[in-house]
């Protein structure tokens, strides 16, 4: 979508396990801030960030990582042009969750969605549980851009989003609007059955 300022508006969603650093990553990218104790996201948070050089305005949905809110995720990744799947390099489990997110997006997400895999907390390399090679191999295998980032030390944060913004397909012609959700069934309205008495 192109807004009046000539910017391409793109929906971007961040997915990943709880505590992987999604909110920190977004906060660093959007506001340049970092807090050691970032509160857990509940539901989802919405932020926007304009990248004038790429002529892109990202509408960012920072989702909650708690398993409880997993079911909300489809609402946020539906129609997204890009997704950043975040894991914690010090937590092997978060990498597994990230793989699950990738699978889910591949299965249910927008087929043209750009995906980036971000191994966050690169500043804690001493406690590394996921090797860079392993993650890079997985990313390559699945066609994802891969970055090891640190929201704390601001390493490769901007690069993740800049890379996505650069690779966004430019709209050449208006596309027919996609349905806002997954159509489960589609059936003509059933004929009103005549009941015993008139209505």
């Amino acid at each position: 979508m192109i807004d009046s300022g000539g910017l391409q508006q793109a929906k971007l969603v961040l997915l990943g396990d709880m505590g992987a650093g999604k909110s920190s990553l977004v906060l660093r990218f959007v506001k340049g801030q970092f807090f050691d104790y970032q509160e857990s996201t509940i539901g989802a948070a919405f932020l926007t960030k304009t990248m004038p050089e790429q002529h892109v305005k990202f509408e960012i949905w920072d989702t909650a990582g708690q398993e409880r809110y997993h079911s909300l995720a489809p609402m946020y990744y539906r129609g997204a042009a890009a997704a950043v799947i975040v894991y914690d390099i010090t937590n092997q489990d978060s990498f597994s969750k990230a793989k699950n997110w990738v699978k889910e997006l591949q299965r249910q997400g927008n087929p043209n969605m750009l995906m980036a895999l971000a191994g966050n907390k690169a500043d804690l390399a001493d406690s590394r549980a996921v090797t860079k090679e392993e993650a890079a191999a997985y990313a390559e295998e699945n066609g994802l851009a891969f970055w090891e980032t640190s929201a704390k030390t601001n390493v490769s944060v901007l690069e993740v989003f800049t890379d996505l913004a650069t690779r966004l397909p430019r709209p050449s012609a208006p596309q027919p609007q996609q349905s806002s959700g997954i159509t489960l069934t589609e059936q003509p309205p059933a004929s009103t059955r005549k009941s015993g008495c008139c209505t």
């Binding site: 509940i42 539901g43 989802a44 948070a45 919405f46 949905w61 909650a64 409880r68 809110y69 079911s71 909300l72 995720a73 489809p74 609402m75 946020y76 539906r78 129609g79 349905s179 806002s180 959700g181 997954i182 159509t183 489960l184 069934t185 589609e186 059936q187 003509p188 309205p189 059933a190 009103t192 009941s195 015993g196 008495c197 008139c198 209505t199």
Partner: protein, 936 residues
């Protein structure tokens, strides 16, 4: 100092007021559901024993009364839901799976026919369509949409017609718990998931699923005025638009809600500890209200809520008590927030309402501005005041903060109260004193810093708004801006402001600007105010160093003294050029120092502005020769003056300038041929580069000589004598040649060309163009007898003869050659002359013979013609008009045709009018006889 920063504060805002409504008296029943009509004037209460009650709500500003209107027993089980259908004047009550359509006043009615097992229902925003969800089968639920029609279209006033216009089945094993319209679509909620249904097509999508243990309520809260709905899950509310897409960050409730209602800009969430009011857009909690007595829910107790469509009322009900939450007017909320010093919330509210067109929002901004100013949050205050239009707030209302600077406009200050939340503005020192504690008030550095902050913020604000529509006291505002910028040492901005269009009163700012050594802005203000002489006086002072501009600048890199001096000169020159603003006398008065300070700018002025020439020239003669020359050139070349004296003076000045630039030895009267190489080549051409050995002519010299030669050539207005007198004997040969030519002294001119300069080509060209044949002989003679004991220039002479000999008189050439001429050198020329003489003699002889032949032939013809006779008699008639000739005059054509003179005159004289013979083409031969003539 008091902390000016508004830290995060607990919710202390009154967005809703709690008012007790009714208390259910039934001993064996409790309130099971409540509803409000669309405009909040009727309260509907359903009970657990199937009672349905309607209450009329009458409210005033101070009081609220709820009176029972009607009561009816509509079923044996609890009333599960109530929807008001204002378009049909009906109320739908859900009881035991049946929807009852009741008259909204009398509660008389009947069930919605043909449908049972209804689990949820909802009404659209217009209050005309009813959606009901029921079970279609074990694996599917069915949603039906009805239009409810009442009044004359219905069978009776007590019955309503329900027309089902859409129906959709959804594969779902669980009951629909909540139905809500979202534009054209419906949002459904079961215990497992939320779905978006397109009723016309029957298609639906799952918005999201719910965890199995998701606590109640999982409900859809319509936000009809925003065409949105809030989907609740746990402590989270997700606001979605008509397409089912989320529109904002999820709302987080302070605790698991028992029930939720949306009202205006707020979400009311009833939790175990009370009712929390959240800002719908931002999610911030703005108010918390503990439950009143009798409403406090016991564990597991259900609380029900309802909102009127007009968002003017929310009701919450426990088992027995029903309480109303009346929204406080947003204006009042903003006022309260400002009063409580919660500026951020107040401004956020005013912002939202301003976008919606609330007229009070500007007043809130103005009040916030004043309050923030008094809180010493100067920048925030000014940014807030910018939101106000001039119809409400005038920038001059800030003048009391700077009473000294704005004393002159004291009488223009309006008296406005706004909301009366702020104290009257006082002067900045008083303001600081009032807000700072003793310790801070004694801190001079802090005081200065705060004063600067205030001045900076106000100056920026005034600069922003001064050109706005309807701004009053612009002179006062501009004056204050100048003073503030001067105080802040914002030199560049001050100069720019004073130099551009403004209404500042110079008298009010002069003292301050002088005390700050801000002379450039002061001069610009004087210039702008039409006091040119004062402005010029200041610039003059800056130029001559008697005044020094302050170099203090906020940027730390202010312009140097030299830059300021140059700027003063430029500005002065620019003003002096303006004939409308600066009188001639003033310009003349300023000219001497401008000439002294910057000849370039002075010349620019002289060229741009018409000033008395003679006075200027007198001034320049005594001050600057270069400027005099440039000005004379401007007068002569550009203005094309016809004054002889100016042309003459220009020639003299140019000549003198050229002479001054010549090396001293060259300027002497040395006519030795040895120095003749430095010669400007060609009359009328540009000055030539010297041949080499001298080569000292500077570019300026060449320029002057070129100009001089051009003037001497083209102008006929200068007096030659004085110019020639000045140049005679100097090395400006070319110029002398031009002058000598103009006075007709070709001999002297040729002497210079041939003997002094030795440029024979130029000399020959001069002879050809100006001196005539005698000139060549003169030149020849000069070459052969150069005088001054110089040997004859035979080679040059022969060259001259070879070029021009054929045109010269041989005798005179021979006479000129003289006896000393070597025969060998002269032979080719003499031989050619001789050949030419002989040829000319023979040619003349032939011509003479031919002419004699022609003369003889003519004599013969004449004799023949003379021999012809004509006899005219009375019978002879004109061959053209056939009238008798008689004694009239007649003519005879060469072929003898006779015509009266009248006809002859009217015909071609060389063409026979009868035969048509052309006599000039076919003359008569002597053998031809006249046809009609009789020879005597």
């Amino acid at each position: 100092m008091n902390d000016p920063i508004n830290m995060a504060q607990p919710p202390a805002r009154t967005a809703f007021q709690l008012i007790p409504a009714i208390e259910h008296k039934g001993q064996k029943s409790v309130v099971s559901t409540v509803a409000l009509d669309s405009n909040g004037q009727h309260l509907y209460v359903g009970t657990s024993d199937g009672q349905f009650e309607v209450y009329r709500i009458s409210s005033s500003a101070t009081d609220l009364r709820v009176v029972l209107g009607a009561r009816r027993h509509v079923g044996k089980k609890a009333v599960a839901g109530i929807c008001h259908l204002p378009a049909a004047l009906r109320v739908a009550a859900l009881i035991d799976g049946v929807v009852m359509l009741l008259d909204e006043q009398t509660l008389e009615g009947h069930p919605l026919p043909g449908i049972k097992g209804v689990s949820a229902m909802g009404v659209n925003a217009a209050g005309e369509a009813l959606a009901v969800a029921t079970r279609a089968s074990k694996k599917a639920v069915r949603v039906l949409l009805y239009t409810i029609i009442a009044g004359s279209a219905a069978a009776s006033s007590l019955t309503a017609t329900a027309l089902c216009f859409a129906q959709a089945d959804i594969a779902e094993t669980l009951l629909v718990k909540s139905v809500s319209f979202l534009g054209r679509r419906l949002v459904l909620c079961t215990a497992r998931r939320y779905m978006l249904l397109e009723p016309k097509t029957g298609s639906y999508v799952e918005l999201f699923g719910l965890p199995e243990d998701a606590p109640s309520p999982t409900a859809v809260i319509p936000i009809s005025q925003a065409y949105q709905a809030m989907l609740v899950m746990d402590q989270v509310g997700i606001v979605v638009n008509g397409d089912g897409n989320p529109t904002q960050s999820a709302l987080t409730f302070p605790s698991s809600p028992l029930c939720i209602a949306a009202c205006g800009l707020f979400i009311l969430c009833a939790g175990p500890d009370g009712v929390h009011v959240l800002d719908r857009a931002g999610g911030d909690e703005v108010q918390w209200m503990p439950y009143p007595d009798g409403l406090h829910p016991s564990p597991g107790q259900k609380i029900v809520a309802a909102t009127s469509a007009s968002s003017n009322c929310v009701v919450l009900a426990g088992f027995r008590k029903v309480w109303m939450y009346r929204p406080v007017a947003l204006e009042e909320q903003a006022r309260q927030l400002l009063q409580a010093g919660q500026y951020d919330q107040a401004l956020q509210l005013a912002n939202t309402c301003s976008l919606a067109g609330a007229p009070w929002a500007e007043t809130a901004f103005a009040e916030a501005g004043f309050l923030l100013l008094q809180e010493l949050r100067f920048t925030d205050a000014m940014q807030t005041l910018q939101r106000c239009s001039t119809s409400l707030f005038q920038p001059l209302e800030l003048f009391p903060v700077f009473p000294t600077e704005t004393h002159a406009w004291k009488g223009e200050l309006p008296t406005k109260q706004y909301w009366g939340l702020h104290d009257p503005l006082t002067s900045l020192p008083t303001l600081l004193k009032a807000r700072l504690n003793d310790e801070d008030a004694a801190d001079a550095e802090l005081i200065t810093s705060l004063q600067d902050d205030a001045k900076r913020a106000v100056a920026d604000y005034l600069l922003q708004v001064r050109n706005g529509e309807g701004v009053e006291a612009k002179d006062g505002i501009d004056t204050l801006i100048v003073l503030l910028l001067a105080d802040l040492d914002r030199a560049a901005e001050l100069e720019h402001f004073c130099g551009s269009s403004n209404s500042a009163t110079v008298g009010q700012v002069e003292g301050r600007l002088r005390s700050h050594d801000r002379f450039l802005p002061l001069a610009a203000l004087y210039a702008g105010a039409g006091q040119s002489s004062k402005a010029l006086s200041i610039w003059q002072g800056l130029a001559d160093g008697s005044l020094t501009e302050s170099q203090a600048d906020t940027s730390g890199t202010g312009p140097s003294h030299e830059d300021n001096r140059a700027l003063a000169l430029r500005q002065a020159a620019a003003l002096l050029r303006d004939e409308e603003r600066v009188e001639t006398a003033t310009a003349l008065q300023c000219l001497p120092w401008l000439i002294a300070a910057s000849p370039e700018l002075a010349l620019g002025l002289l060229e741009a502005r018409a000033l008395p020439e003679d006075e200027i020239l007198d001034l320049l003669r005594s001050s600057s020769q270069a400027l005099l020359l440039a000005f004379l050139q401007h007068l002569v070349s550009v203005q094309g003056t016809g004054r002889e004296d100016l042309h003459t003076e220009l020639a003299l000045v140019l000549g003198q300038a050229a002479l001054d630039l010549l090396p001293a030895s060259d300027a002497s009267s040395d006519q030795s041929p040895a120095i003749t190489s430095d010669m400007v080549q060609h009359q009328g051409g540009a000055a030539a580069q010297p041949d080499g050995e001298v080569g000292t002519c500077s570019e300026l010299l060449l320029q002057h000589r070129s100009s001089l030669q051009s003037l001497l050539e083209t102008s006929d207005l200068y007096r030659i004598g004085p110019v020639l007198g000045q140049l005679r004997g100097t090395r400006l040969w070319q110029e002398q040649v031009i002058l000598l030519r103009k006075v007709g002294d070709h001999l002297a001119a040729l002497r210079i060309l041939a003997l002094v300069v030795g440029d024979m080509d130029a000399a020959e060209e001069y002879c050809g163009k100006h001196a005539g044949p005698d000139g060549f002989l003169t030149l020849l003679d000069m070459l052969l007898r150069p005088g001054d004991s110089r040997p004859p220039l035979f080679v040059e002479a022969c060259h001259l003869l070879a070029a021009q000999g054929a045109n010269l008189d041989p005798m005179r050439v021979l006479e000129s050659l003289g006896e000393d001429m070597p025969l060998g050198l002269a032979f080719p020329t003499l031989a050619r002359i001789q050949r030419e003489r002989l040829h000319r003699r023979r040619h003349t002889s032939v011509i003479r013979s031919l002419n004699r032949s022609v003369g003889l032939a003519a004599a013969t013809t004449r004799a023949e013609v003379m021999a012809c006779r004509v006899v005219a008699s009375e019978e002879r008639a004109c061959r053209i008009c056939h009238s008798r000739v008689g004694s009239k005059m007649f003519a005879v054509y060469p072929n003898g045709v006779l015509a009266c003179f009248k006809c002859f005159r009217s015909c071609h004289p060389s063409k026979c009018p009868v035969t048509g013979r052309q006599f000039d083409e076919m003359p008569m031969s002597s053998s031809e006889q006249w046809a009609d003539l009789q020879l005597s």
